[in-house]
């Protein structure tokens, strides 16, 4: 792969031959690497002309080359996965369908058992709820309002 890097623009460009790689693979690779790069696309008859722009402001020549390499590897990962998936698709479809349909347990959810409709059961549950709520009020610290947003996503250079 011939790389054209522009450190000032934090970009690296290269051709992706259409007779080897598919648009599907390109899209998936772009999505997977989206935390690290923005992907720009142009095309000729023979190739997709891909430009990656690094999101990290301090990306240098080495990092840009590595990003292009990662992108190329991800393209291969997807293309080969398609091949393997197509080859084994009857078996994998059988397994996936079987597992999902077995787990589903039928077309409609089972009804609650008759025992739960009995007045004694309903009273038992009502008593349990009341006792639990009383114990919460008696023994637990006061509930505060919802405190807001979850943690922000971890930075990509976490070293994982």
């Amino acid at each position: 792969m011939i790389l054209d890097t522009d450190v000032k623009e934090r970009s690296v460009s290269f051709d992706v031959p259409k007779k080897i790689y598919s648009m599907d693979a390109l899209r998936i690779a772009a999505q997977i690497l989206a935390p690290k790069i923005d992907v720009y696309l142009d095309e000729t008859k023979a190739a997709y002309e891909v430009t990656l722009k690094a999101k990290r402001r301090d990306a240098g020549e080495a990092q840009l080359t590595a990003l292009a390499g990662e992108f190329g590897n991800e393209l291969l990962n997807q293309e080969y996965r398609f091949i393997v998936g197509r080859f084994n698709h009857k078996i994998s479809s059988l397994i996936v369908t079987q597992a999902l349909m077995a787990a589903r347990g039928g077309e409609t959810p089972a009804e609650a058992p008759a025992g739960e409709s009995a007045p004694e059961f309903k009273k038992l549950v009502a008593d349990m709820v009341r006792n639990a709520e009383a114990e919460v009020a008696r023994t637990m610290p006061k509930k505060i309002p919802h405190q807001g947003t979850p943690l922000p996503p971890v930075k990509e250079d976490a070293g994982v």
Partner: protein, 508 residues
């Protein structure tokens, strides 16, 4: 050669007579396996003969190959199908059996690696309320599996004790009314345990498990109290106390507490010492598991994490130590990861370990319920949500029914991604019949539920562990120990006999 290993250069091969198989060069010998869970360990010379099509009828090796389904002309289709059914029993299960309920995110400890993304004890907004608890139990009982296992998690679940009690009693009432088998387990740090709580847990047959990372200096470094302070002493105190009560009462012998350790970078030099502590405390098993860079652990990976190869070296060294203890008679402690893999490899059974199934246990085998009623494909999926990404959320107990959860696109994506026949490297791996991939792990580390196996830490560590286990199986001294473990494990399951439906039952 690559991690899949390769054939010797210039090897003579005649594939015409060979049934489907995968192979692995184990260094001096070769491993053959097939999709039906059959395996053979061959000397390199025998492997070469097999590949060249030179093993003929009358050769003792021929009978071995034939009986295990490696010869195309001698396949017993019905037997192979029966093996497949037994090995993949989980594929026929009607829905998840394991339901993990996070009753609060509050915790009084600040463990270095905490996956659970805990908050400090003042955050009562992260306590599950009684109404959400009731709806969670109702949802659990709407799933179709006749066996339900509820596991309390957190944060520290004892910080929301009234809701733990409510869920226990309500679930047991529903199990009785609906003739369902119910098992219950509590995972807690023991620092808030009291005699009253213990009495309740015993009376309601709730199994208890805690975290014990090792000797005090290691455990306290990994798992300090919030605001500092040493917790290991309390863990050991309650472990011993609960054991004392269990051993004093024949009916309680199945409720002996369990302990789990988490391997951090700091654990690497402490393998034998960790095992010695578990032995000293009379614990039956130790589970040597790698830490996953998911949730909060991903943020602090530089401080607590390690390379997959480092974990494999730690695993082998520590397993060797455990085997030595068994051989010498000093202890009969078992290693849980080895036991799980041995059940799959030697017995051809599924031991119920969600992470090593194809497809994985996400939704099909387990669900996680957050304090606010949100439903996740697994506890790892819940941790990803806590970091700001809701991808693995598949429902809400207040709004969703079981059908919407199993039909959810994320469920289908996880099932498809974790089916090893869809995985480029796994479909050729000798460990494929026994292994599995975890979609949440790969999403967190490689930004894709499918992942990229050549560069996957999950793949490196699991292949490494399988290498270790198969080498032990080939070593007669280690094999005797492993066979005894399998026998003991079998006895244990047979002892906890079928309990009348609706009655509470122990879970280990």
């Amino acid at each position: 050669m690559s991690r899949l290993t390769a054939l010797p250069s210039g090897a003579a091969v005649d594939t015409g007579a060979l049934a489907a198989f995968n192979f692995r060069d184990m260094g001096g010998w070769h491993l053959l396996t097939n999709d039906y869970g059959q395996f053979l360990m061959l000397s390199s010379a025998d492997f070469s003969r097999f590949m060249a099509g030179k093993v003929v009828a009358g050769d003792p090796l021929y009978a071995e190959l034939e009986s295990r389904g490696f010869l195309k002309a001698r396949l017993d289709f019905k037997q192979l199908a029966a093996n497949y059914v037994k090995k993949n029993s989980f594929q026929w299960f009607p829905g998840p059996s394991l339901h993990m309920i996070v009753v609060t995110l509050r915790c009084n400890q600040k463990c270095q690696y905490c996956h659970s993304s805990v908050v400090d004890p003042s955050r009562t907004d992260t306590d599950m309320d009684v109404e959400t608890a009731r709806k969670t139990v109702d949802f659990i009982f709407s799933t179709p599996n006749p066996t339900i296992c509820i596991e309390f998690q957190g944060g520290e679940p004892l910080l929301n004790w009234p809701v733990v009690k409510f869920i226990t009693e309500y679930a047991q009432a529903k199990a009785k009314a609906g003739n369902r088998k119910l098992l219950m387990a509590l995972v807690c740090n023991f620092t808030l345990m009291t005699e009253d709580k213990l009495d309740f847990l015993f009376d309601h047959h709730v199994s208890i498990c805690t975290s014990l990372d090792g000797p005090a200096e290691l455990h306290n470094k990994n798992r300090p109290f919030l605001g500092g302070g040493e917790a290991q002493q309390k863990v050991v105190y309650w472990l011993e106390k609960i054991q004392e009560r269990c051993n004093a009462d024949e009916k309680k012998k199945h409720y002996l507490p369990g302990a789990l350790m988490t391997t951090t970078r700091f654990s690497m030099d402490y393998g034998p010492e960790i095992v010695d502590l578990y032995v000293k405390l009379g614990l039956e098993q130790i589970f040597l598991r790698p830490l996953s860079p998911i949730g909060y652990a991903k943020r602090v990976w530089k401080d607590v994490g390690y390379e997959a190869e480092e974990f494999v070296r730690f695993y082998e060294k520590t397993l060797d130590y455990i085997i030595d203890l068994n051989v010498s008679g000093k202890s009969d402690i078992m290693e849980r990861m080895a036991l799980i893999l041995l059940s799959k490899v030697v017995k051809g059974e599924d031991p119920g370990f969600m992470d090593l199934r194809s497809p994985a246990g996400a939704v099909l085998g387990c669900l996680a319920y957050n304090y606010n009623g949100e439903i996740f494909v697994s506890d790892e999926g819940r941790m990803v949500d806590h970091q700001g990404d809701p991808l693995f959320r598949v429902g809400d107990v207040a709004k969703s029914d079981w059908i919407s959860v199993i039909d959810h696109p994320t469920t289908r994506a996880c099932v498809s991604a974790s089916t090893l026949d869809n995985q480029p490297m796994c479909h050729q791996c000798a460990f494929k019949p026994y292994c599995g991939v975890e979609p949440v792990f790969h999403y967190e580390t490689q930004k894709s539920v499918f992942g990229q196996m050549p560069t996957s830490g999950w793949c490196v560590s699991h292949m490494g562990i399988f290498d270790v286990i198969f080498r032990k199986l080939r070593d007669p001294r280690a094999r005797r120990v492993l066979d005894k473990w399998l026998e003991r494990d079998q006895c244990r399951w047979q002892e906890s006999e079928a309990v009348p439906a609706g009655q509470p039952e122990v879970v280990r």
